[in-house]
């Protein structure tokens, strides 16, 4: 085993044999000094997770979070020096983390926080000017097949739990005791100017925006939303997307696709 291989193994696994060939000026046990590195590695990665998942951290408390994150770090060490992406799959880990089973919404709260981090660092795209959007929407014959491109920061999350309310309560926006976590909620995450915002969407609105994200043309996306909830309010959802600068491109249907020979 190479020195660095032995180092790497021993850094992540406290039961792994300690690397040989190390010395200290006073002959003291190098293990104590090696522990500085072990602590640096594990603590800094736990800190990175605590930064990315502040509400998960608050929900379980400092001691529990650090113990839980330590398990994650040891079984899922980073594979890239871009730590900003570290822990993208933390939610999946939480789902299977038995000691946290008493908080069934924890994984979805983590998914919401992962969407917030992603939104914060997502590429910059200018919003399409409102006049351009208005002009396209004023051409009814094209509306059905109009493809709406949304901002890369935008994310939608549907959950059987009241994750938007839970998140808002941890921002001090509403009292935690008024939140019933067992109410399904749908979250819209986007970056408006430089601020990441989290909003609650109606179920049909979430369905609609998810369809647009997948490139489903406007008319078909609206139809799917309407079948989920007949009271779906298309103009309200479009107004929300326009107001938050979430629409970056419109692709009208190509004339060539019309009147193709059968």
């Amino acid at each position: 085993m190479s020195t660095q291989q032995a180092f790497a193994a021993a850094l992540l696994d406290p039961d792994s044999p300690f690397p040989t060939g190390l010395k200290t000026w006073n002959g003291s046990d190098p293990a104590r000094r090696f522990a500085v590195h072990r602590n640096n590695v594990v603590s800094s990665l736990i800190d990175a997770l605590a930064d990315a998942y502040p509400v998960v951290h608050e929900l379980v408390g400092e001691e529990f979070f650090r113990a839980m994150a330590r398990v994650y770090v040891q079984c899922t060490p980073p594979r890239s020096p871009l730590l900003v992406r570290y822990g993208e799959d933390f939610a999946a880990f939480l789902e299977g983390f038995e000691p946290a089973a008493g908080l069934p919404y924890l994984a979805d709260v983590a998914r919401l926080e992962a969407l917030r981090v992603r939104a914060y660092h997502a590429a910059d795209r200018p919003a399409l000017a409102a006049q351009e959007i208005a002009a396209a929407l004023a051409t009814p014959e094209c509306l059905n097949e109009l493809v709406i491109q949304l901002h890369p920061a935008l994310g939608v999350l549907s959950s059987p739990f009241a994750l938007v309310s839970l998140w808002a309560a941890h921002q001090g926006e509403l009292a935690l005791e008024t939140v019933d976590p067992w109410q399904p909620e749908h979250a819209l995450v986007l970056r408006n100017a430089l601020e990441v915002e989290v909003m609650r969407l109606p179920a049909a609105g979430a369905r609609f925006i998810q369809c647009l994200q997948q490139g489903v043309p406007l008319g078909h996306a609206a139809a799917q939303a309407q079948s989920a909830d007949p009271s779906f309010d298309l103009s309200a959802q479009l107004a929300l997307l326009i107001r938050t600068g979430a629409i970056t491109q419109l692709h009208p249907p190509l004339p060539a696709t019309q009147g193709q020979p059968l």
């Binding site: 190479s2 020195t3 660095q4 291989q5 180092f7 790497a8 850094l11 992540l12 060939g21 190390l22 010395k23 200290t24 000026w25 006073n26 002959g27 003291s28 046990d29 190098p30 293990a31 104590r32 000094r33 090696f34 500085v36 590195h37 640096n40 590695v41 800094s44 990665l45 990175a48 060490p77 980073p78 594979r79 890239s80 020096p81 871009l82 730590l83 900003v84 939104a119 914060y120 660092h121 997502a122 590429a123 910059d124 795209r125 890369p152 920061a153 970056r191 430089l194």
Partner: protein, 303 residues
Amino acid sequence: MIKIDSPLSDPNSSAPACGASLPARAGLGLKPQHYREILESAVDLGFFEIHAENYMVDGGPFHHYLGLIRQRYPLSLHGVGLSIGAEGPLDEAHLDRLTELIERYSPQAFSEHLAWSSHGGLFLNDLLPVAYDAATLARVCEHIDRVQSRLQRRMLLENPATYLEFARSSMDEASFICEVVRRTGCGLLLDVNNAYVSSINHRRDPYAYIDALPLDAVGEIHLAGFAEDSDGAGARLLIDSHGAPVDDAVWTLYARVLQRIGPTPTLIERDNQVPALQVLLAEARQAERLLMSSRPRPQQASA
């Protein structure tokens, strides 16, 4: 060995944000919680330094604010993830990302560490020590040659803070660094806190250690705070924590370095328990007082 046009050829320049080199003043690490205050109060500071990896993101507030701050201040780009001391090859994708950042922000300096942090596809997020032997020397020089030719600029190599030594080391750290600088033409980022921490941890004389370094290659200085611990025999063990003010012993050593090499761009490093900007600015002013007093006396009055 390669010859690269050095962006640090004029370390005494007081050029504005567009200058070719860092000014011989104090700088601070750029922290997101200080972005607005920096811009609103137009703080008087020599330069800012960023950790390259934090800005390897597509867009958003980090690039927005860095763009604005870069228009107003010189910039030092400090890598923490290139793993120059690794046994394996350099991460070419990471070099590409560094190249992109350098093209976007034209920093006045680029620096990395004499350490490793990646192995076998894992990133360990710590600056891990290397043995000072011929094999490591050859590998580190090869990696630095590659970095300098890919980035098309001279890099500064930072001396490490270490806690352990390798039985197989065949030279001391200062000799190793001298040889790297000689072979690759890279510059030295002299971290005075690291020099102090390592010297205490291995019971060496920090003054003798610094005197043995290639001081004419120093392009930037780092100052930081350390934490106190003890080793298995109860001896002092200092931890390079970046979480405390600069220690008096490090200020004293810094003053001595300045007497030797003259005014040199100096960063106050604080990455943990980051205090208010004003607290860091006070430390930067302390560095600037020492920088001023180390300036050579004017030879003649300028007309």
